[in-house]
């Protein structure tokens, strides 16, 4: 059975969002509960073998609704605590411009934690195509060559075509031709992108930021559809993480007077394809969802998904 940990902060993050320290508390509890290890080094090593670790962000909307810098810093702190050298961490995105626009400090050099887009000098895309089902794409050399493992750190939001934008959709940012794969609710393309060999083989962990969630009108930012869930969704099963993310999104839509995605022509069909491809568990009844609420001292108590 796949496990997904949903860690929510005890207070509403409305206004300033969560700080690095607050995210750190969420991540610490989340990683410990996901792995059953109380020691951070053991927890991280249970999920991610030694090697260079990538952290793929989603910075499409600039500072408005992208993967928060604070979350990436907190994740970096956890890896640091686990003994991962700064030089072995790479924060990455489709373009450096998108990273900079979301508030990240670019650093393409080999000293300290790197932060760069696929368009950075001498990076680019793979020489050869990777194929999976209906997808034929070049893949970012950050993923194929630079990192050994990847942590997918998307933002939970509504998507006007795919329905759900979370972990799998975020990997569109790893290929050269995402525009070719938006037909039919991104189905089965979203699953096929996640099944591309480097994406599938290197994905170790998904951390979906669900502190601020745009429940409608995405992926572009529309402030009138922004709400606060105040949590992160963590799993080593990318399909299960997305499936729980979908549940959260649908609940937020309902709470805010929006119909289910299927009713508005945006059923998240690619999750079915993901299940068929064996990318992970997409049946909610077969996913162990551990929901916890963390207070300001980092103490967890049992919580409800919604």
């Amino acid at each position: 059975m796949s496990k997904v940990v949903v860690v929510k902060y005890y207070r509403d993050a409305r206004g300033s969002g969560l700080t690095r320290d607050e995210y750190r508390r969420l991540m610490s509890v989340g990683l410990h509960r996901l792995t059953g290890e109380s020691d951070m080094q053991k927890a991280v090593r249970k999920l991610i073998p030694p090697g260079v670790i990538g952290m793929k962000t989603n910075c499409l909307t600039g500072k408005l609704n992208s993967t928060p810098v604070a979350l990436i810093d907190a994740l970096g702190d956890c890896l640091d605590e686990a003994g991962v050298d700064d030089n072995d961490m790479v924060v990455w995105e489709r373009t450096s411009r998108e990273l900079a626009g979301a508030g990240y400090t670019l650093n393409a050099s080999g000293s300290s934690r790197r932060c760069l887009g696929t368009d950075a000098n001498r990076i680019g895309y793979s020489q050869g195509f990777y194929s999976s089902g209906e997808v034929n794409s070049l893949v970012s050399r950050i993923l194929t060559d630079l990192v050994d493992h990847n942590i997918n750190v998307p933002v939970l939001k509504d998507h006007s075509i795919a329905g759900l934008s979370a972990g799998m959709k975020n990997m569109y940012g790893a290929i050269n031709n995402p525009n070719k794969y938006h037909g039919d609710n991104c189905n089965p393309f979203c699953a096929h992108v996640s099944a591309l060999e480097p994406v599938r083989a290197k994905n170790r962990l998904t951390v979906i930021d669900a502190v601020r969630v745009q429940y409608n009108g995405g992926p572009g930012f529309m402030s009138q559809f922004l709400t606060y869930y105040n949590g992160v969704i963590i799993s080593d099963d990318p399909a299960a993480a997305d499936r729980v993310g979908l549940q959260v999104l649908e609940n937020l839509r309902k709470a805010n007077g929006q119909p289910p995605l299927e009713k508005v022509g945006r059923p998240v069909k690619y999750l079915v394809a993901a299940g068929q491809l064996g990318l992970g568990e997409v049946e909610l009844s077969r996913i162990e969802v551990d929901v916890v609420v963390v207070d300001e001292d980092g103490r967890p108590t049992a919580g409800e998904l919604f």
Binding site: Y125, S160, I161, N176, N177, K180, G218, P219, F221
Partner: protein, 379 residues
């Protein structure tokens, strides 16, 4: 990097590669070096696109090609070069060519359009289909951030043509429909200064934008990729019927039209398809419309197939001639007699070609020197 005078891909007629190579540097620029500065730019353009509609529900519908992409904020259409920003649709490639060459017009190929002349040929990144056999996929299947782009406004390109006595501008290599606004403005400014424009296209464009564009063009070459809808769906990622409709529209407009059919082994190479194609062309476009059957070479996503056998191409030629087409050519077979133009009345060689070179002409104006038959085209 020194920005100035650094042009990636300014080839000459003798450069055979359709896609310019990174190491083709300014030695071909000649006197232009002092006249024009060609700058690389990382900046994409932000020129509002034409032919789209804002939707009441939010987002826009692109009406440039039959794909009619519904594009929401911050997303792009299928072509990858047009982006919705706050429900205003922008072209990102206006003035941003990533390929620029001086080619023989025969390379397009145009065989009835000022033979022996050259064309300043350009492309931007992007395409509205995804042909599995694409020979230029490095640019056609890329987004503009992924190519090295020049900053070349329309007027500069026209100036290059005037300074180098290049009679024609050719929009080619990728799919010019996706850089519609740029192409339109270049062609318009070119006409104002006596420079002709030709487009090499898959013809996958909506009726209205094509109608607007045709008055700016002097010739159109359409890659009719097959005569079967299934091929368009499975191999091209598009639709056949809109292309057939546009071919008729082009023919009716009076703009010179030639057709290329790439013969791909096992996929569109049966005698029945050649016959169907010839009959359709004869019925709807006329027997004087040149049809080029071109040889496939394995690449991109069809590396598993062999090159087209010569016999298959010759079968296409023979069937098309037997069906009554007057001007049938075989391409990518240098030295083959079917590269040359023959008089449909007296069968004498009118234009003898070898590859892109013309070795002999027996035309005066557009008439056969032997029997005075008028030959269709622009000579």
């Amino acid at each position: 990097m020194d920005r100035r005078m650094f042009i990636r891909c300014m080839g000459c007629g003798a450069v055979a590669a359709a896609i310019p190579q990174t190491d083709l540097l300014p030695e071909f620029l000649g006197g232009l070096q002092n006249a024009c500065a060609f700058d690389y730019t990382k900046q994409l353009s932000s020129v509002e696109a034409r032919h789209y509609k804002k939707l009441e529900t939010g987002g826009i519908e692109c009406r440039l090609c039959p794909r009619r992409c519904m594009v929401t904020d911050l997303e792009r259409g299928y072509c990858g070069v047009r982006e919705n920003r706050g429900d205003v649709y922008y072209t990102l490639v206006y003035g941003r060519p990533c390929a620029l060459n001086i080619d023989p017009i025969e390379k397009k190929p145009f065989f009835h359009f000022y033979p022996g002349t050259t064309a300043l040929s350009l492309a931007t990144a992007g395409c509205n289909v995804n042909c599995k056999f694409c020979q230029n996929w490095e640019i056609s299947q890329s987004r503009p951030e992924q190519t090295d782009n020049l900053d070349l406004p329309p007027g500069t390109l026209v100036d290059i043509c005037k300074q180098r006595a290049i009679p024609t501008l050719a929009y080619t290599y990728s799919e010019p429909v996706i850089f519609y606004e740029y192409m339109y403005d270049i062609a318009k400014q070119g006409h104002e200064k006596g420079v002709k424009s030709v487009i090499i296209t898959g013809g996958y464009i909506e009726k209205e934008p094509l109608a607007d564009l045709l008055p700016q063009l002097d010739a159109v070459k359409v890659d009719l990729k097959a005569i079967r809808e299934t091929y368009y769906k499975d191999v091209v990622g598009g639709e056949l019927q809109p292309v057939l409709d546009r071919l008729i529209q082009i023919k009716q407009s009076g703009v010179w039209l030639e057709i290329v059919y790439l013969v791909v082994p096992t996929l569109n190479d049966t005698d029945a398809e050649f016959r169907e194609l010839a009959q359709w062309v004869k019925t709807y476009l006329g027997k004087d419309t040149p049809v080029h059957f071109s040889r496939f070479h394995p690449q991109y996503l069809l590396k598993n197939l062999p090159p087209t056998p010569q016999a298959t191409l010759e079968s296409a030629y023979n069937i098309s001639r037997a069906e009554g087409l007057d001007f049938v050519y075989l391409g990518n077979l240098p030295g083959h007699p079917a590269e040359s133009t023959y008089c449909p009345k007296c069968s004498r060689v009118l234009i003898e070609r070898r590859g892109y070179r013309i070795s002999r002409q027996n035309l005066t104006g557009n008439r056969c020197n032997n029997c005075q038959t008028e030959i269709p085209g622009l000579f």
